[in-house]
Amino acid sequence: MSITSGIQNQLKLRPRADDRTGQRSGAAGLPNKMTARGVKVFYGAKQALRGIDLDIQENRVLALIGPSGCGKSTFLRCLNRMNDTIEGCRVEGQIALDGEDVYGKAVDAVQLRARVGMVFQKPNPFPKSIYDNVAYGPRIHGLASGRDELDEVVQTSLKRAGLWAEVKDRLREPGTSLSGGQQQRLCIARAIAVSPEVILMDEPCSALDPIATAHIEELIDELRANYTIVIVTHNMQQAARVSQRTAFFHLGEMVECDDTEEIFTNPRDERTQGYITGRYG
């Protein structure tokens, strides 16, 4: 009870970008960056997702919420085919990026993952220097020709990730020497260094303290201008704060997806209602 009222307060207090532009979130006018139709995922004999239909709109933040084991991370990992690396994982249905089936023959998983970047639950910088962490993506994809250009990509990415001021004098130090929150921002910088179109975030703040979390949330709000973002979170205040649209997952099904404000103030399904009021999950 207190949770929902708190969230509703936040929704009221926080001026929404959509309100400023006068455009309603979830408006039909926004193009879909990615679409999922009838996505089923099996781990061996166990079915983890039971037919998900979901649209991901361009330059919006979509939050996936739901109790543990409901399949939201599984769905997220389908979007850039990270599930390919899991033994015995089988994906059915269709997922399209700009109308092109990502599981189709024409799409290469390596290229897809460059276009759809990912930030993981636990900060996982490479055990290399801060510079090399960010430069790795552009290097392997050949996105920068020459040192100067690479330096610039690294600097822009770190600035966008809000980390430049803190690390500009210590780019040669290992990325693992940073604090947890800084490491996560480094991972975000690493992801945006290859200029992806979509960024997937799998509970990016679950290992961070509230201050670092606030940093990342601000960052997500800023990144929305240039990227489409899908974020999995267990923290419903966070979903309310950063997302424009929210999808509620339960037992491998997508129960409902609507504007974040609608989900938290006026959920249509009673399971959603039960989850956001803290009756289960």
């Binding site: 850039n80 990270m82 690396t85 033994e87 390596v110 290229q111 897809l112 993952r113 460059a114 970047g117 990912m118 930030v119 993981f120 636990k122 996982n124 910088p125 490479f126 055990p127 290399k128 790795y136 993506g137 392997i140 994809h141 991972c187 690493r190 992801a191 260094a193 290859v194």
Partner: protein, 437 residues
């Protein structure tokens, strides 16, 4: 909060009511007794552990102590000083034996009979004329001059100087005649018999004469063999481990391969020798006693060790690193080469060095492919006949001469030294790789 306060109060004033018993069980006498027993068990366990370590250390010290005590003297050799007049005619005839004997007789003017001269002849190593020959060959201008040189003494004299013969035993039981002892004592008294550092031990090949035998040939053989082993098994082993761990699908075939690799690691090494004999010598007709074949057999033997160690090291790399690399679009190969393999390198190196150390100390499979041969020449190529350090030790240990007993121990010390050196290199390499990451 209030609950806690109540609990404390109940513990301070022992309550007779049975209903509070579950709460105060942690402070009961029975619990205290069990706690004491637990601490005692821990102390006993620690004591047992410390005793085990002490026992292991003691055994190690005993082993090393006995080897050093037996082998240390082999690093010295007895030499005899001679004033040799290099008569040009004899030099031209290469009759160096006569030159040396003449110089020796000159130190014993009282000896004139044949028996006495034979005793004196036996003081010198049969290799001494070659030493002189080599000296003259190096500097032909020496012909016609008189030189003071030190030549190797016979191994019996060497052992006498080192105190290996008991002088209080009767001549027949001693194994060394009174006449020889008297002659050696006379040389010792005049300072013409002394000990110097034994370079022969390191530079020479094998010999029937202990004072001329060295492990130079065996070291060269071991190095050549190890070179072949390393060149074959390290790249193959790491590649196999990477493929099995990072790329291969988990199915019945990979399970079968995994089980068989684990079994191969446990196969007795002589089986690999038999395989080498049948396949490399029998089928491919490769030369006997060659480091090439020895290296091939050792490579087969160390391959499972390297594969298993490398797979463990690869498995220990956190999956988050793979996800991070794949997540920004690195191909699986780039993920492995740029991130996973460098992180696994210290572990892989450790496994490799363990495999190499095992190969260096292995004897049994080499018996089958003829590397247990008496080889005097130092091998220079992969197909030259050769033997290796542990086989050399095995052969010397079989020899009856006293001087070979101490040389056996000395060779063991050198083998241990090489092993320590190898492990040292492994530690340094590991440090370098760990610092980079």
């Amino acid at each position: 909060m209030t609950d806690l306060v109540e609990q404390d109060a109940a513990a301070v004033t022992p309550s007779p009511a049975p209903s509070t018993a579950p709460k105060s069980r942690l402070r009961s006498e029975a619990f205290a007794r069990r706690l004491r027993a637990r601490h005692a068990a821990e102390r006993r366990f620690r004591l047992a552990g410390a005793a085990a370590v002490a026992l292991a250390a003691l055994i190690l010290v005993l082993l090393l102590g006995s080897i050093v005590a037996k082998g240390a003297s082999a690093f010295l050799e007895a030499r005899i000083r001679l004033e040799v007049t290099l008569d040009p005619a004899e030099v031209a005839d290469r009759n160096y034996t006569a030159l040396l004997r003449r110089a020796l007789y000159a130190q014993f003017p009282q000896v004139t009979d044949r028996a006495g001269k034979r005793v004196l002849n036996d003081l010198l190593s049969s290799g001494a004329p070659y030493e002189l020959e080599a000296m003259v060959a190096k500097n032909p201008a020496l012909a016609g001059t008189t030189q003071t040189i030190w030549v190797r003494a016979d191994d019996q004299i060497d052992q006498l100087v080192k105190g290996a013969y008991r002088r209080d035993l009767p001549e027949s039981e001693r194994g060394l005649g009174d006449a020889k002892i008297a002659a050696a004592d006379a040389l010792l008294a005049s300072g013409a018999l002394a000990q110097g550092f034994n370079t022969t031990l390191f530079t020479a090949g094998d010999s029937r004469e202990p004072e001329q035998a060295g492990i130079g040939g065996a070291i060269a053989g071991s190095l050549l063999t190890l070179l072949v082993t390393m060149a074959l098994s390290v790249p193959t082993g790491i590649a196999a481990a990477v493929y099995l761990e990072e790329f291969a699908a988990r199915n019945r075939w990979t399970d079968l391969i995994e089980v068989n690799i684990n079994n191969l690691a446990a196969v007795p090494s002589i089986i690999f020798g038999l395989l080498g004999l049948a396949v490399f010598l029998g089928f491919f007709g490769m030369p006997r006693s060659a480091p090439l074949v020895g290296g091939l057999v050792m490579a087969l033997m160390t391959l499972p060790v390297i594969i298993i160690a490398s797979r463990v090291a690869l498995k220990a790399v956190p999956p988050s690193i793979r996800e991070a690399a794949l997540g920004i679009g690195a191909s699986p190969l780039q993920t492995v080469l740029h991130h996973v393999l460098p992180l696994a390198m210290p572990g892989i190196l450790t496994g490799t060095i363990i495999g190499m150390a095992r190969a260096l100390g292995e004897t049994a499979p080499l018996l089958m492919i003829g590397m247990v041969a008496f080889i005097v020449d130092i091998p220079h190529g992969l197909t030259d006949s050769a033997t290796v350090l542990p086989v050399q030790i095995y052969m010397w240990a079989d020899s009856p001469e006293r001087a070979f007993t101490e040389r056996t121990s000395a060779a063991i010390l050198i083998l241990l030294g090489v092993l320590i050196l190898l492990n040292g290199v492994a530690v340094i390499l590991r440090k370098i790789f760990e610092r980079r990451w």
